[in-house]
């Protein structure tokens, strides 16, 4: 029962080290990756002969440099174990990505399986991405500002209302029916009204995103708080805890896993609302860019914006995952994530 060995405690909480990867196995998988990139490059060079060379340039450079990196890192990783580990993990997904790009190019520019102006080849998308980078960057920046301000307001409001509803029975009695009736209306349904009533489209967009976030955050915070195990509260009371401690140091941490589910749901809702608001009202941002480019029939740009959007949204999602991992370390090993 008496554990004198101090290492034991730390050993339990530090994550297990991944097994080392052998050099030979790593080289083998690596050559598959380099091969897939080389294939994509060859297909591209063949297809590109029928296309305007100016639009093909960037993609050729891109595939060429990826191939170069793949070839260079092959010997480097023999010496550097961390790089080897990293490559080993990412390798299958990177190979699949190279094949996918190759396939995309074949069915668009290559055999023209899809109606052409609407489905540009990866080379055209990359070309638009690079030539129109200033406007794309600007749009991304505007989307980010709008999203973050809307999300922040929504989360703050949602946490406060969720806490009140979850903790106080009278607030719950009056607040819950209201929440159940008003909450499920999709935030985007308010757009026509919001555009008319509010002083500026920017303001109404922030409010709509906040509304979209507010509902799931409130719902899950309230349920998390009100489902706090009574015995935790009893324990805290017998240890001398006052109301502040009970709410913020017992109920809130106990509800945190639930609150994070609300934050994730709210994030999804905020993406949707952001894009719709930008498409119909706000005159900036990625949503606006997509519909603007579509108006000019520049589908390369449409896809370029979609690619940016995918990266943008998934980065934000990843950040939220990291925050959760940070705050819910104590759950590790209790719940499968």
């Amino acid at each position: 029962m008496i554990v004198r060995n101090g290492d034991e405690a730390t050993a339990v909480i530090s994550p297990p080290k991944p097994p080392p990867v052998s050099v030979a196995a790593s080289l083998r998988t690596l050559s598959i990756f380099a091969g897939s990139v080389a294939l994509a490059l060859v297909v591209h060079l063949i297809v590109a002969r029928n296309e305007p060379p100016l639009e093909m340039r960037f993609y050729t450079i891109f595939l060429g440099s990826v191939l170069l990196i793949a070839v260079i890192t092959a010997p480097a990783q023999i010496l550097w174990a961390r790089l080897r580990q990293f490559r080993q993990n990412l390798h299958p997904i990177l190979t699949a990505a190279a094949f996918l790009l190759c396939l995309w190019e074949i069915i668009t520019s290559g055999v023209r399986l899809l109606p052409l102006p609407y489905f540009p080849s990866p080379a055209k998308v990359l070309h638009s991405l690079i030539t129109d980078r200033m406007l794309l960057f600007d749009s991304t920046w505007h989307s980010l500002l709008l999203l973050l301000s809307g999300y922040a307001f929504g989360v703050i409001a949602g946490l406060i209302t969720g806490l009140c509803i979850g903790w106080s029975p009278p607030v719950r009695y009056w607040g819950m029916p209201l929440l159940k009736v008003v909450g499920p209306i999709p935030a985007t349904a308010w757009i026509p009204l919001a555009m008319v009533v509010s002083p500026s489209t920017m303001f109404s967009a922030v409010a709509l995103i906040a509304l979209a976030v507010w509902f799931p955050v409130t719902m899950l915070t309230a349920s998390g708080i009100s489902n706090t195990r009574a015995s935790y509260l009893d324990v805290a009371r017998t240890l001398g805890a006052g109301r502040g401690y009970l709410i913020f140091r017992v109920a809130v941490p106990a509800a945190l896993p639930n609150i994070f589910i609300g934050l994730f749901m709210g994030l999804g809702a905020s993406f949707l609302t952001l894009v719709v608001a930008e498409t119909v009202g706000v005159k900036s941002g990625l949503g606006w860019y997509v519909s603007w480019a579509q108006g000019w029939a520049e589908y390369g740009k449409v896809f370029a914006a979609l690619v940016i959007m995918a990266g943008f949204f998934s980065t934000i999602m990843t950040v939220l995952f990291k925050v959760r991992d940070r705050m819910l370390v104590w759950q590790k090993g209790v719940i499968k994530w």
Partner: protein, 273 residues
Amino acid sequence: MVMTPDAEGSTLQLRDVRKSFPDPGDPVNRRLVLSGISVSLAAGELVSLIGPSGCGKSTLLRLIAGLETPDSGELLIGSEAIRRPSAERGLVFQDPNLFPWLTVRRNIEVGLVARGLLQEKKTEVDEFMRLVELEAFANAFPHHLSGGMAQRVALARALINHPKVLLLDEPLGALDAFTRMRMQDEVLRLWSARRSTTLLVTHDIDEAIYMSDRIIIMTPRPGRIDQIILVHLGRPRHRSNPEFLQLRGEILELLHFAGGERMKSGKAHAPIM
């Protein structure tokens, strides 16, 4: 009855305490759980509470802790009536109920943080970690602990407030026989170091005899005090000592669990435990 001058504990008096709960199956009548409990504990005394399941032992402890209010009767600590939960009455539940989001150390600190005394008593945290021998696990989260370790954390967490009254609700019930006996010694060691007035609920007659100054035996629900048995053995006690075994036999006899004649006599006592 043991009374030491340096006891941290204080006297605990119950006078005709009654408690009922709404009966889910009967909307009109309430279900009486405790009917007229009267007993006093001297400062620093360790008393065990034994009784059949559902007779209201946990309810009695929750009343003393201030988590429930009695229908009638008085509960006094020293000369003060119990109205609400307070740090001066520590309760250790059958389930350790550690906060899973806090490390072992932070769990033990809860009482100090809640009362805003952490800065003042920082050194005491180390002292209690040492007392329950968990220094090596200071930064581990509760799900990394074994049942016995978790229960020791729960004990330390209650003890750090220096409660005048310590209420233990079957704190060792979930442990295997060996861990249980070791923990009994630990609880005794902690108790003799601090001398809180302690009320220990248990289902184990050996544990009650081994640990306590007196044993309260309760009747089935509605719970009343059936007997109070004085354990006149010196400390430290030996589980195989003839006097110990003799007392054990007497208590089993009282409870009609001695065996053999129980079948014949068919006493009206409900089966216990």
